[in-house]
Amino acid sequence: MSGTFVTLVAAEIERPSIDWHAIAPELILLGGGALVTVIDLIWLERVRKLIPTLTSLVFLVALIPVITLWADGSGLPRGLWIIDENVPATGVWEGAFVVDNYSLVLKGLFLLSAYVIVLLSTNYMSEGDYYDSEYYQLIAASVLGMLVMSSSRDLISIFVALELVSIPAYLMAAWRKRDLKSNEAGLKYMLMGVFASAILLYGMSLLYGIAGSTLLSDIAAAIDIGESRPVITLGIVFTIIGFGFKVSAVPFHTWAPDTYEGAPTPLTAFLAVASKAAGFVALINVVIVALPTQANVVEPFIWVLAAITMTVGNLIALRQTNLVRMLAYSGVAQAGYMLAPLAVYDGISDRATSAVVTYLVIYAAMNLGAFAVVIIAARKTRSAELSSYGGMFNYAPGLTLAMTIFLFSLAGIPPVGGWWAKFEVFRVLTEGNRTSGIALAVIAAVNSVIAAFYYLNIAKQMWFLPSPDGDNSRIAIPPALLAAVGLTVAATIVSGVLPGVVSDMTDFVNVAAGQ
């Protein structure tokens, strides 16, 4: 009986050769993660100190094929299989996995963010006496999910990638398991995440039901009927709501502040930057590739989401006294700015994508930097309360300057990076000369002023107010954290002063559909 099975299957599959170069980043990450696990299992405590270094090396090595693929841009987009040696792009099962410039930029972003996250985690984890080797394996797995996500052009692989990103994150959020708040963080995140997945699946199943295929390009073809149908609308709305949870858009943001506050701070940075970016990537893939003809449904919905997300996020952030919570809500508001280009993507989907990706790249640099400073400061003050940042200029001028750069960048004040991100968003919003886009741009502009208020509040604390306990001893900054701050400061400044560096990469962005 089983013999028949084997022959049957073998007869039907003509397996073309695999394009190893195209999936090399994923494979390296997978293999490297497994290697780290094995090393950890064999030598246990003796190699404990090496694990973070090894993991960060894995991320950097995985970056190499990303760069070579980029350099070898002529063959893009390419898929998983090679049918004809001369034409790597065409294949039978391409849809699930596409490597193009867009996905390469994002893969680079995810790997570099992960590298910085590891730098941030090293001291935190070892000094807090947590299980660290598993922590790094979970990060590697989550990042692998992100890499797969950026190449996914198929509902199933998008969903699996999203879960691969999220499930390790649920676990890591509860990593400080002796702390009640961390438990709360993990549990809340998991419950909301699972709920969101259920809604997302429901929406996807409707889309699949309409198209009869999970491939995004097939869905796009199936729903291109010149009008909108309630079933299609339902599928779209549920799918976007599902992603709304992942990117913490209002009103689906309620998990974010508690989770951010309770989770280990490096992980918070991971959630706020990389995990959120992965959610955006999924959203872009679906909206741009599968729903180009449904703009009349998608645009109003995302418009409303973006407008209330930036407004509510900023208004609540104003009232926060804990810096991590403030950054959490500011992250919610920033998600609103990032959603904005997708509210006017009709006809200019490449520009909209480019604006979101630019924002993601710059946001990653400045927000990771801000979290790095929070982590460093907490080593001395043991607190993330805003008041504990008083007088920091007196005992850590360099750190204060770095934080100020990040804050001004988040507020969008030139010449540091954030202004360019905002400019790109405004550019897309006004480009079509549509009332809705310009109205959203005005809302975004008003919001950036509200945001400036609380960002400046932090700067004020650090520069002008005295230290609350009068303790002006210096902070010793471990090399890993110093490197993290240095990298992010450099990236933030460069992206603002020479925006061409970023836009040269993101201007190529054009999401290739699978076949």
Partner: protein, 196 residues
Amino acid sequence: MMELIVFVISAAIVLGGALGVILFRNPVHAALSLIASFFGVAVLFVSQEAHFLALVQVVVYGGAIVVLFLFVIMLLGVDREEDITEEPFEGQRVSALVSGVLIFAMLMAGIFLSGRTGDDAGDFGPAAISGSSGQVVPLTEEQDVVQLGHDLFTRNILAFEATGLLLTIATVGAVVLVRNRGAEDLVVDEPGTSSR
């Protein structure tokens, strides 16, 4: 006609079981009514000629998962009655009701406003694009599993492998979180950002 009768009965079982899960006071009863719900879904799968899925639904969900639930409930000794009159969050029930009604209304609107174009493979739906995808093959009984396997190992191979990694990593993480290393009590004051 036959299909409609089967559908109505099993749908009633699915809904009744689901209601039971949230309304029963005793967790054991709730878990048992979950089995009923899963069973109803399995019948629906059969009526759609998805035999393999029906099998999986019964064996994995009805069998393994709910039995695990029961196992945990019994072991932890939480098989006492819960007080469900008290709301965990203020206004939780109202908001649950409101959003439930809203979603239901949306679905109903979606179904009825769409008309009946979908049922005989009308102007859109799977048939409309079967030419472009080439993947939609009418299933026969023998091919069910083969088709699934084929799909998993061809176009969904990456997702399939990723799922494998996902399960592994989830197990690792769960073990780490559950493992108790010496006398570890919950403390609120940890290095880091906690402040209250």
